[in-house]
């Protein structure tokens, strides 16, 4: 069943390209640090070296190896992205389905909250909250980002579920005395599974981009290495105007490659599963 669902995806050239690029970065984030065993925090006298055999991507102002930083950075950025995405998905699903199932005053209140969060720029709230926290782990950054990017998803879920709710099989389940929870889990959630997955992918992108933005403004994780922190260091040390391209180009390429490949995966899934967009 699952296989027949997925099979058309692998006939799609764009999907294959997207998933290959994504897996490449995912694996280099997970496995890279085991194979390339250079300490990304180790400082040496070879500072600001351009790429060489010794340092495949050169070094920064403190003589730290950029490739090692990049591999660890990809790992942390993906971690932040995934964590933020899970948080957003859970909040959005709960609020969206609760509003659709309960209706009435609960619906009104939840939708008011959703609209307020939707109208308020999430990056600004993230900046404000992060500025009050002295210590920010990767997890804290992920939570700050994940807390505010769910509204558009919750609204879409609510709309979708409300249309499903008026179908006959849901009436039948209601008559059979299903509890709200059972109704959601058995009848409703399966209808939003693909949409939820596509949104999850976009949430990951939001997390990765959000981390980079927070870091650049000086509010990134206070320990560890991330792609955003690499960019911030190169900005702080004026690496761009001094022409140290190997410092700020790789983390940017990693961000764009990961998020763009996820985007391709999401849109091709939409094309394959959505009959109105399916290519004839």
């Amino acid at each position: 069943m699952l296989l027949t669902m997925i099979r058309p995806l692998f006939k799609n050239k764009k999907f294959i390209i997207g998933i290959t690029i994504f897996l490449f970065f995912l694996l280099s984030g997970i496995l890279g640090p085991y194979f390339y065993k250079v300490d990304p925090t180790h400082m040496s006298w070879d500072f600001e070296q351009s790429p060489s055999a010794n340092h495949p991507l050169g070094t920064d102002t403190y003589g730290r190896d950029i490739l090692a930083q990049l591999l660890h950075g990809i790992r942390s950025s993906l971690y932040v992205g995934f964590l933020a995405a899970i948080i957003s998905l859970v909040i959005g699903s709960i609020i969206g389905s609760l509003a659709a199932v309960k209706r009435g005053i609960i619906d009104d209140i939840l939708m008011a909250i959703t609209n307020i969060v939707l109208t308020t720029p999430s990056i600004l709230i993230a900046i404000l909250i992060a500025s009050y926290l002295r210590v920010r782990s990767l997890e804290v950054v992920a939570v700050i980002l994940g807390l505010f990017q769910w509204p558009w998803y919750a609204r879409a879920i609510r709309a979708q579920l409300m249309s499903v709710m008026s179908r006959e099989y849901v009436y039948l389940s209601r008559m059979a005395g299903y509890s709200d929870l059972r109704l959601v889990v058995e009848d409703l959630l399966p209808t939003i599974a693909t949409y939820a997955f596509m949104s999850f992918v976009l949430f990951i992108n939001g997390g990765i981009m959000g981390e980079a933005g927070l870091s650049l403004i000086g509010l990134g994780p206070t320990q560890g290495i991330s792609l955003g922190l690499m960019l911030q260091w190169s900005v702080l040390m004026d690496g761009i105007r001094r022409g140290l391209w190997w410092w700020f180009v790789p983390p940017g390429i990693a961000i764009v490659a990961v998020t763009a490949s996820l985007m391709v995966i999401s849109t091709t899934m939409d094309e394959v599963f959505n009959p109105r967009l399916r290519e004839e």
Binding site: P121, L124, L128, S131, G243, W245, V249
Partner: protein
């Protein structure tokens, strides 16, 4: 046009945004008081290091801070004070630039951010929609594939990273354009021709990096929308009636533009965030740069002030977009959307 429903719609939107603004300022109020480790007491003890002035003014600043965050009064009184001040635009006094008022520091930098953000965002929106519409109309041709692929990549490039690449390529390597600031150092802002040319030269790179990386998303959205519209009943019916393609396309384009207008309102926040960071990368003297300075010195009144001002402007922009939307689409006025 019926006037009354329009007025009702506008009134409802205004009330909603006012409510949202109060919620946002409430968050600003609660945060420093709710976060464990009380950043305020830390701030007070750090004050001597932060302010570069004599003990007397530090004490004065301390008094201001205490009064600002009013630890001596009951919480409800503090809250009411805070909200009424925020609604009047009184944002307190900066610590770094003591004793200057936060609002006086923010007002001069806002035009730089507006001049960068608004034209760039609108240009990106317009260009992206045109490109996406063409791609959707010529679906599955090379134009479509080219537009889609490049949009997919462009839409994922953060503004500021594209800015960095531009600085390196056109500023450092080729030396065509100035690499930082909004105008050359040493020149005094005036309305002379040479100054305007200087400003424009500094403007090109930040502007272009925002336009290019923002338009991809619009193109992708518009392409899907056009495909939907061209496949819908009215488009097919018009086609069977023998209407020319160009005319059908025009109708489809107009209908597809509507959701993109809502999208524009919703994207403004993200665009603002991106522009703030782009300013930091370019050392562009806008709100983002001021915020960055405030953050490095932990100037909380300033950080809060910038937050309140930016949130208020985003809400205002949302209100304007809603108004425009209601003008264009009668269905919204009649309240079918909500």
């Amino acid at each position: 046009m019926k006037f009354k429903p329009m007025l009702k719609f506008i009134g409802r939107r205004f009330l909603f945004l006012l409510l949202t603004y109060i919620v946002a300022t409430t968050i600003v109020f609660i945060l420093p008081r709710a976060i464990p480790g009380n950043p305020l007491s830390q701030l007070l003890s750090n004050l001597s290091r932060v302010a570069q002035a004599n003990p007397e003014s530090i004490r004065a600043a301390e008094r201001v801070l205490l009064e600002e965050f009013g630890t001596d009064k009951p919480v409800m009184v503090q809250y009411v004070n805070f909200i009424s001040k925020a609604l009047r635009g009184d944002l307190g006094i900066s610590i770094t630039y003591y004793p200057r008022k936060v609002i006086d520091l923010i007002i001069p930098v806002i035009p730089w951010t507006l001049v960068l953000l608004l034209p760039a965002t609108l240009t990106a929106w317009w260009l992206g929609n045109k490109l996406g519409a063409i791609a959707g109309y010529r679906r599955n041709t090379w134009v479509d594939k080219w537009v889609l692929t490049s949009s997919m990549i462009l839409s994922q490039i953060p503004y500021y990273w594209l800015g960095m690449i531009f600085i390196y390529l056109f500023g450092v390597k080729l030396g065509w354009l100035p690499v930082q600031g909004a105008y050359s150092q040493g020149t005094i802002p005036s309305f002379s021709l040479s100054f305007i040319i200087d400003v424009l030269k500094h403007y090109i790179m930040p502007f272009a990096s925002i336009v290019l990386s923002a338009m991809g998303g619009w193109a992708i959205g518009m392409r899907v929308m056009i495909v939907y519209e061209l496949g819908s009943d009215y488009a097919l019916f018009s086609e069977y009636l023998g209407m020319e393609d160009k005319r059908i396309f025009k109708y489809a384009y107009r209908n597809s533009l509507l959701p993109q207008i809502t999208g524009l309102a919703l994207s403004l926040g993200g665009a603002l965030g991106g522009a703030l960071i782009t300013e930091i990368v370019f050392n562009y003297p806008g709100t983002g740069y001021l915020l960055f300075k405030g953050l490095t010195t932990l100037d909380y009144p300033m950080i809060q002030g910038i937050f309140v001002i930016l949130i208020a402007s985003i809400y205002l922009a949302n209100f304007v977009v809603d108004f425009v939307y209601a003008l264009i689409d009668p269905r919204i006025r009649l309240g079918q959307e909500e």
